[in-house]
């Protein structure tokens, strides 16, 4: 029962992931076995064995809470699975560990300062685990009996008989309790819980044994099992909230904005200090645990020198998350300076990081990835077509080949075939240019385009 519920939760989570990063929707984890050895093809991951093993080791350390406040850099050429590895780590971390994903350039587009955006991202990646404990009475109503005074005024008295599979007991009811039972329309056969502290009554549903009481039941009627065990139970629920969520609630002037959580603009530093103090107090009292999560910054070379020095300092904070960064740059200019540095990251920050390299995929890995993507995009592909596509991926890029899958499947559908064959792939290959052929074309016909300046250097992105 619990396993089924857990599976459902997992599903919901995956859907949100799919919407955000479609290119990596096939990733379900890192694809490691119990001894952290990477399987060649598993959980949507293919090849890249060294990097995955390294990521697996890091993951175990994160789970043990050992490397909070450190940074990991995934470095490699474009299209070598850096984002895929980060997504895999996020999936493998499970529900309880906060994972925030952002692109380096995101910090420039928001309506807030760069450091504010970074602080929020960092605080989104730190969870606080707390426990809620309630004493409840849970049972199936056997009988409910209310005596009203004949005059119609005055106190009502009543009796409520509750049972579980193990026991049965009678409660005497006061006026207030009777009113709330009436309000909830509780009747014999209902399974209810009563909160001991507040007296709040909650109807869980009707008992299965009473399923045949009436011929017609409303669609909203829920049937549940008669509760087991003791009547008076202690319910313990563990919640994990992120520091950012707590910040947001406390920076609001009134509660109605709760519908639009998230976009709150800047949060005052006093609010953060208060929250930090409160959380520290809770930890002292044994009421809360800090769950350092993971902050993933893609395209980290887009950050500028200010952000890097901010990160440098933020990592030293005792409540820092694990920061995973990914970059595809070689030695390049650090944004905001004229200095060059490996990966476009200052040397002092690089020194703090564990660097995990990713290497270009081999031909057979490419084939596997393309096969997985075909499945993911509901596209059947003939073997020879897949071979041709692998060839294309090897010569151009993996991303281009993946894009050809969908387009080729559309072309094949046009000729009313369910399977993509070699001609479809050839056709889309001629229809859509890859990066190489496009620049080739531009070089040839340079003169016929507008504003061409031959002496212009290659694009400077940083």
């Amino acid at each position: 029962m619990a396993a089924v519920a857990a599976a459902k939760v997992q599903e919901v989570r995956e859907i949100t992931r799919i919407e955000r990063i479609g290119a990596h929707s096939h990733i379900r984890g890192l694809g490691l076995d119990d001894s952290l050895e990477p399987r060649n093809v598993s959980q949507g991951m293919v090849g890249q064995l060294m990097a995955r093993r390294a990521a697996g080791v890091v993951l175990e350390m994160i789970k043990d809470g050992k490397i909070a406040g450190r940074a990991i850099l995934l470095a490699g050429q474009p299209g070598t699975g850096k984002t895929a590895i980060a997504m895999g780590m996020a999936q493998a971390l499970g529900l309880d560990t906060p994972f925030t994903s952002m692109a380096g350039s995101e910090i420039y587009s928001l309506e807030m300062g760069k450091t504010e955006a970074l602080t929020q991202a960092i605080r989104k990646s730190i969870g606080v685990r707390i426990k809620e404990e309630t004493e409840i009475i849970e049972g199936e109503v056997v009988e409910i009996q209310v005596d009203r005074p004949a005059t119609g005024v005055g106190a009502k008295v009543g009796k409520l008989t509750l049972k579980t599979t193990e026991m049965e007991t009678i409660y005497d009811l006061g006026n207030k309790m009777i009113d709330s039972l009436m309000k909830e329309k509780v009747q014999a056969g209902d399974v209810i819980t009563i909160d001991k502290a507040t007296g709040k009554i909650n109807r869980l549903g009707r008992s299965f044994t009473r399923a045949r009481d009436y011929d017609a039941t409303g669609s909203q009627t829920r049937f549940v099992q008669c509760p087991e065990g003791e009547l008076q139970k202690r319910k313990e629920v563990v919640h994990t909230v992120t520091l950012h969520e707590v910040d947001v609630i406390n920076s609001r002037t009134h509660g109605f904005l709760a519908l639009f959580s998230g976009d709150t603009g800047e949060i005052k530093s006093e609010v953060r200090d208060q929250i930090n103090a409160k959380v520290a107090e809770w930890r002292e009292e044994g009421k809360a645990e800090i769950v350092p999560g993971v902050l993933f910054i893609d395209e980290v070379h887009m950050l500028d020198i200010e952000c890097f020095s901010f990160l440098n300092r933020a990592l030293e904070n005792e409540m820092a998350p694990v920061v995973i960064m990914a970059t595809n740059r070689g030695i390049t200019r650090i944004r905001g300076t004229t200095y060059k540095s490996p990966h476009g990251i200052p040397i002092d920050l690089l020194d703090r990081m564990i660097i995990v390299p990713t290497s270009p995929y081999q031909e057979k890995d490419l084939k596997e990835i393309l096969k997985i993507r075909c499945e993911e995009e509901d596209c059947e592909m003939a073997d020879d077509a897949l071979t041709v596509l692998t060839r294309i991926a090897l010569e151009t890029s993996l991303r281009y080949a993946i894009q050809l899958i969908t387009t080729a499947s559309l072309v094949s559908r046009k000729r009313k075939s369910t399977e993509v064959n070699i001609d479809d792939v050839k056709r889309v290959y001629s229809l859509f240019l890859d990066e190489n052929r496009s620049s080739q074309f531009l070089k040839e016909y340079q003169d016929e385009f507008m504003f061409n300046e031959l002496e212009e250097q290659a694009m400077e992105v940083a």
Binding site: R129, I130, K131, V246, K287
Partner: protein, 142 residues
């Protein structure tokens, strides 16, 4: 030949080790199940005490018959009520004790089974006021 004997010895050792391990796990699990049963029994007694006390309060005689184990004793209503109240308190204390121990035992069992301990199990609970504030974060309004 000697080699084989050594191997056999190893196998014996392994077998015993496995058996011992399984025994440990089963014993711990049994203990937890027993505790669950104990809580149910105590809660039953607590509820019976409560019902008895309520019945005594609603009747008018100042002496009552009460069954104490196999004996049927006639005693004053007041002392009977006191007896029941005391028993109820004892039940409360006992249940709370078992529940706290249960948390430790569950984690021990999970440790034996090489699974991770339940996250947050050993935390102290939030107070009601704190929970009201946190519920706002969780998107529940109480």
């Amino acid at each position: 030949m000697k080699n084989l004997a050594v191997n056999k010895d190893y196998a014996m050792n392994d077998e015993q080790k496995t058996l011992k391990y399984l025994e440990e796990v089963e014993a711990k699990a049994e203990e937890i199940l027993m505790d669950r049963q104990e809580i149910v029994a105590l809660d039953k007694r607590r509820n019976d005490d409560r019902m008895g006390e309520r019945a005594l309060r609603n009747q008018k005689f100042d002496k009552t018959w009460m069954a104490v184990g196999p004996l049927l004793i006639k005693m004053s209503t007041n002392s009977a009520q006191e007896l029941l109240a005391k028993d109820q308190r004892e039940c409360d204390v006992e249940i709370n004790k078992i529940r706290s121990d249960l948390r430790v035992k569950v984690n021990q069992l999970r440790d034996l089974e090489h699974t991770q301990s339940v996250p947050g199990l050993m935390l102290n609970p939030m107070s009601r006021e704190e929970m009201l504030a946190v519920n706002q974060v969780l998107g529940k309004s109480l």
